[in-house]
Symmetry: C2
Subunit: 317 residues, 2 copies
């Protein structure tokens, strides 16, 4: 039997499934990755996190990793990083910030405050293939502690990582990664960044945030639409379309019938070939649309069209 | 403390470093990945494998995974899969065949016998970005047991893998993979295969094998060259170039001096911009060149040039 502590990890119930998946793959076990509850808008509740950490310690587990999400997948919510960082510091736990989706906001001087506290993280994930518009795949993992990746991953294969080369071998970064041969994913990012610059990216991202505000305002004032989260803080706008035939029902009946509406509308959209918006249920909420505004070619007219198209397809359901 | 068995894995000392790396990443630990000795040509010694398995069991470890390599990185050696499969069967151990480099040979009716026994594997790695010439990256992992990847990796994220879609959701394979969003690496392979067909690939691969035989024969008959493995069984040809100034020394002195020759020649090649061949030391063997013939554009003239170029650069060292 192994004489090793049972590690456990923590992430919000609204975080990306890859966090639990990573716990499974790394041998920690999906069951030892605990989901911390979130509030109405999808942010992790710090008090619930600390309570769970204390409970795990009492049960003989070894809490070692907390993931705070900056921009959750469904709601685009921002976990309160400073409070989570305080808890991690107090309990000596590694703080990871999953900014895969939200990291791009750091390029906007106006909006980057949403990620305040990220500078306290031990590690950060950031996928330029999301908000920054690089083609799949382009993902970065940043680790604060210098040299840690080498310490962890180095296998020193002498058929690859010769030290007697005629150039500075610190450019050979392969031995600090888990993968060996792989696609050069960073080159396209470098080109995009060179081309747009910090100013260009700030402009692009601010424009998307403006479009999201426009879309939200419009959804709110259009009869038949209901917001899932009243005031979105990012580019995810979650909403229901309630066809006239459902509007008279009591809440329970309405909810049961609403579950089937978004899938029907989406299938019809795909059939018509006009537009495509994803949907999903969440906990006690029936299937709702999740509009993500991240394509820089989107215009206000496209958003107006989408709102009309859903009504056209859904009004007689 | 965890009440779990201590797993251990086995792979030849000449296998790719990713096998040990995977043991580290998966939480098994690099120290619990045991390297089995190989013979003079680089093949795993089955008796040594079984002895190590028995020893591990006696020590209270739980052997569960053996990797046999089909086409090793340095020597292009073929581990004896049938004998290894017998041992795995006897001890109830998962047999993986790392055919990342060698798998392409399956497309040649003349040469595929080198992989005999691979049909007994529980899993196989095969990288079309190696012998098959697909651009980086294009890697396949094949698992015999139907449904196992779903059982192992499925996280059922309902914001992605909705079951109420208007098409057959068995086409949504994302939930059986460890990664979520990723590059479509298989499309280029599909195009290449459609274009070349089985016949075209067989021809391409047979031609490379012929070129390797040509190069080997030429190296053997050219003064100053010495083979590391006398009769290569794949496309890796490992050799030393011994400059005239070293030829009079006793073996120990010659070996010490030879260590510095290949790095010097390679650096000079890069400087001249003419060609580039990798080198590495291995166990008690000083730095030697490892020529890999896998680019389908290579001609006999290129190989003649390389042999002359090394002499031109190295003869006065």
């Amino acid at each position: 039997m192994a004489d090793i502590p049972t590690l456990c990890t923590f992430t919000s119930v609204d975080s990306h499934y890859s966090i639990k998946s990573a716990s499974a793959v790394l041998g920690i076990g999906a069951d030892n990755c605990f989901n911390i509850p979130t509030d109405r808008v999808g942010k992790m509740i710090p008090e619930a996190l600390e309570a769970k950490i204390v409970e795990c310690k009492r049960d003989g587990l070894h809490p070692f990793f907390v993931c705070a999400t900056a921009g959750t997948t469904v709601y685009g919510a921002w976990d309160p990083i400073p409070q989570i960082a305080d808890i991690c510091e107090k309990h000596n736990i590694w703080l990871h910030v999953d900014a895969a989706w939200g990291g791009g906001l750091l390029l906007s001087p106006e909006h980057r405050y949403r990620l305040n506290g990220i500078e306290r993280a031990n590690s950060v994930t950031w996928n330029p293939h999301k908000l920054m518009g690089a083609l799949l795949q382009c993902s970065a993992t940043l680790i604060r502690q210098d040299g840690l990746l080498f310490q962890t991953n180095q296998m020193s294969a002498d058929y690859l990582f010769q030290q007697d080369k005629p150039y500075d071998v610190s450019f050979d970064t392969g031995d600090k990664a888990m993968q060996c041969g792989r696609h050069n994913d960073t080159f396209k990012l470098w080109l995009m960044w060179k081309s747009k610059g910090m100013t260009g990216y700030a402009k692009q991202i601010n424009r998307l945030m403006d479009l999201a505000a426009y879309f939200t305002a419009k959804i709110k004032q259009t009869p038949g639409y209901e917001m899932v989260v009243e005031d979105p803080e990012y580019l995810n706008i979650c909403f229901w379309y309630v066809p006239p035939s459902l509007r008279g029902f009591d809440p329970a009946e309405k909810k049961a019938r609403l579950e089937k509406i978004a899938p029907k509308i989406k299938a019809k959209m795909m059939e018509r070939g006009t537009t495509m918006v994803g949907y999903q249920p969440d906990k006690d909420r029936p299937n709702f649309f999740r509009m993500i505004i991240s394509n820089q070619a989107i215009t206000r007219e496209d958003l107006d069209f989408l709102i009309e198209e859903i009504i056209t397809i859904g009004k007689d359901l």
